[in-house]
């Protein structure tokens, strides 16, 4: 094979040389343009990834030689009750909060697509909460959930329901966070709304002529047509939920009357994976935290792959697309 390549007439040699010079020049130009990314990739991705993997096999001490301890961090994690609690809490949110968010976002998008007056006003109202900074909205909801002076329990009181202690009752902490999460789904609502508006009118009209009612058109046409959006938001939702941190951090820090701030309060019911990881990091168990980070990465990878795999069965792409 090599030989046949060198065979062509000598007259072609300069041409090929010129071409490869151009190719080389374009390579240099290309690399020059992407050089910020290359540097960033090496500094902020490759190096820390390798380093944290190495760290996860060590007992890491600040400014002191660290000790290689093999898989000890990982085996310790398996014995760590709080690790399992954090994983269970996170799984709870992934299994319940993520589908709830998607379901409601789709439902609200359908509502915003109804032909009624004032829709442009409603769209703004539904969307605005999602751009309130997470810290501010979490603080706000802690105030809404306030047992005695919060507006939620006041509202429930008018309905004759005695509202729970949202912030201090471990049974109500995660539902409270889920309600809070629903308030900020405006982004997803808008994404779904644009997807719904992209459904070809001809398709819906044809179904209507064939006698399909509103619900049937929704079920057999709109939902399959927006399934790629569902897949995308499902994956993003799961990844984000595994990294759920700020809301839980604020939640635990607003525990009324407790001086000793403890992450995960009340009673570890909001101790999510990333919260516990941060807790280990803060107490300078750096190797341990690194091991947790790698387990998180692997879990996220597996979840993403599984979702992608399963999606072939339930997502619909138009023939000309992708």
């Amino acid at each position: 094979m090599e030989a046949t390549h060198t065979l062509p007439a000598p007259s072609q040699a300069p041409l090929r040389k010129r071409w490869s010079a151009r190719k080389r020049r374009s390579l240099v130009t290309g690399l020059l343009f992407i050089s910020p990314w290359i540097l960033g990739f090496l500094l902020f991705n490759v190096y820390p990834m390798v380093k944290s993997l190495v760290m996860s096999f060590t007992e890491w001490h600040l400014r002191m030689p660290s000790v290689w301890i093999g898989l000890t961090n990982y085996t310790d994690l398996l014995q760590d009750r709080r690790f399992w609690t954090s994983l269970a809490n996170t799984t709870y949110m992934v299994l319940f909060a993520v589908p709830l968010n998607l379901f409601c976002a789709f439902l609200f998008a359908v509502l915003l697509n109804l032909k009624i007056r004032g829709q442009s006003f409603y769209r703004v109202i539904y969307y605005l909460p999602s751009i309130v900074p997470v810290v501010a909205s979490s603080m706000l909801w802690m105030w809404i959930f306030n047992t005695n002076n919060g507006i939620l329990n006041a509202f429930l009181g008018y309905l004759g329901i005695k509202g729970p202690s949202w912030l201090t009752d471990p049974a109500w902490a995660k539902p409270a966070l889920m309600i809070m999460g629903l308030w900020g789904i405006g982004n997803t609502v808008i994404i779904y709304l644009s997807g719904i508006q992209d459904v070809p009118v001809s398709l819906l009209e044809a179904a209507e002529i064939d006698g399909a009612n509103w619900f049937q058109r929704l079920w057999y046409i709109t939902i399959p047509m927006v399934s790629p959006i569902t897949l995308f938001n499902l994956i993003i939702g799961v990844i984000d939920m595994f990294q759920y941190f700020t809301q839980a951090y604020i939640f635990a820090s607003v525990q009324a009357g407790s001086n000793a701030q403890r992450l995960g309060a009340p009673l570890d019911s909001t101790l999510f994976y990333s919260v516990y990881l941060y807790d280990r990091f803060q107490t300078l168990r750096l190797g341990y935290a690194a091991a947790m980070a790698w387990i998180l990465f692997i879990i996220i990878l597996i979840c993403t792959l599984l979702l992608m795999r399963s999606s072939q069965r339930w997502t619909y792409y138009e023939a000309e697309g992708r």
Binding site: G30, I34, S52, W143
Partner: protein, 357 residues
């Protein structure tokens, strides 16, 4: 179909259509309340007095005891039960649990009863000074740190992050879309795959590099410097946009002898204003909201951003909710204002990020 049957049909359908329309409106409105009321609750709490915040049962609007002026001095107004009647009277003083009440119309008419039997007359009152109190209060003794400091820091962080993102992502996206070089598309897959990497994996080594090796602890540098090295998300968005620019335009410029750098600066960038605006806004939102970054790196309140400065209002025993909400309003206001100025850009930005992924 004859005209009469059409009319008949319409008559038949109209009431049902009307009903479903009204029903739909009710549902849209009710769900709207779920989104609107918390926003209003934040806004109105910001105007409440300290006592009003903890009044039971709570009201949405800020209330305070109504006051009347007698002889140039103001006194609170109460509902006083007198001889089986309830009269609105000003309370002059309370001594040993007995209140002295006077009729504001007729100052000679004085009643003395147990003070707790009288109920205050409430009226809507906005406490604007909550805002100046929240902004100016210094929670750290010995430090001249207040909310203005945090506002300034947040602005600096957001501005530098935006500058860094634009300066780095634009050339990188150009390199991945408008320069042909071997291996380009393979490397681009690598760019996309880094989006999957959770922050937590790189967090600890980066923390050690920034604080131990570079001694950047307690500065904003760890928050803004990475922005200057591009991010996969914005590179992806820009690349997709650059690819839609007609090739002929670029080839024509090349024939005229323009360098890649000039093409990018004088041709591509001016054509990409919509996407650049969208990225600016999204980057602003991201930098303005970021909590974990500042939490990790900033220790000295002088360097705090708004996101972590908000916690100043949480006391050990009780929280100054009115001031916290006033601060939250200030924190949120720039975003809301930006939204109303660039509503279309916001929506386009969401659609770009959400559907083309």
């Amino acid at each position: 179909m004859s005209a009469s049957t059409a009319v008949q049909l319409r008559h038949h359908i109209a009431p049902r259509k009307m009903l479903s329309k009204i029903l739909g409106h009710i549902v849209v409105f009710t769900v709207g309340l779920f989104f609107l009321v918390p926003t209003l609750w934040m806004f109105f709490t910001a105007f409440k007095s300290r006592t009003d915040v903890f009044r039971f049962p709570p009201t949405l609007l800020p209330h305070d005891i109504k006051e009347v002026t007698l002889d140039g001095q103001s006194y609170p107004l109460y509902r006083v039960p007198v001889d089986g009647q309830v009269r609105e009277m000003a309370r002059l003083k309370v001594e040993e649990g007995n209140g002295t009440f006077v009729d504001p119309e007729n100052p000679e008419d004085v009643v003395v009863i147990r003070a707790r039997l009288a109920e205050p007359v409430m009226t809507i009152k906005f406490h604007w000074h909550n805002f100046s109190d929240a902004m100016n209060r210094s929670t750290r003794p010995g430090l001249t740190v207040n909310f203005w400091t945090y506002l300034k820091n947040s602005t600096i962080v957001a501005a530098l992050t935006i500058i860094g993102t634009l300066l780095s992502c634009v050339p990188v996206a150009y390199g991945f879309s408008r320069v042909e070089w071997p291996g380009r598309d393979l490397i681009f897959i690598l760019v996309l795959s880094t989006m999957m990497l959770p922050f937590q994996v790189t967090m600890i080594p980066l923390y050690l590099v920034f604080t131990d090796t570079l001694h950047w602890g307690d500065t904003i540098l760890p928050l803004v410097v990475p922005a200057f090295f591009s991010n996969p998300f914005d590179v992806f968005l820009l690349r997709q946009f650059f690819l839609t620019i007609p090739r002929d335009l670029i080839d024509a410029a090349k024939v005229d002898g323009a360098s890649d750098f000039r093409i990018l600066l004088q041709l591509i960038v001016p054509l990409s204003k919509p996407i650049l605006t969208a990225i600016t806004i999204m980057t602003f939102l991201w930098a303005w909201n970021d909590f974990l970054g500042p939490l990790l790196y900033l220790n000295n309140p002088e360097h705090f951003t708004l996101a972590i400065g908000l916690q100043d209002f949480q006391g050990q025993r009780n929280t100054a909710w009115n001031q916290l909400m006033a601060a939250s309003v200030v924190f949120t206001a720039p975003i809301i204002i930006a939204f109303f100025f660039a509503q279309r850009t916001f929506i386009e930005g969401i659609k770009l990020t959400g559907t083309k992924g």
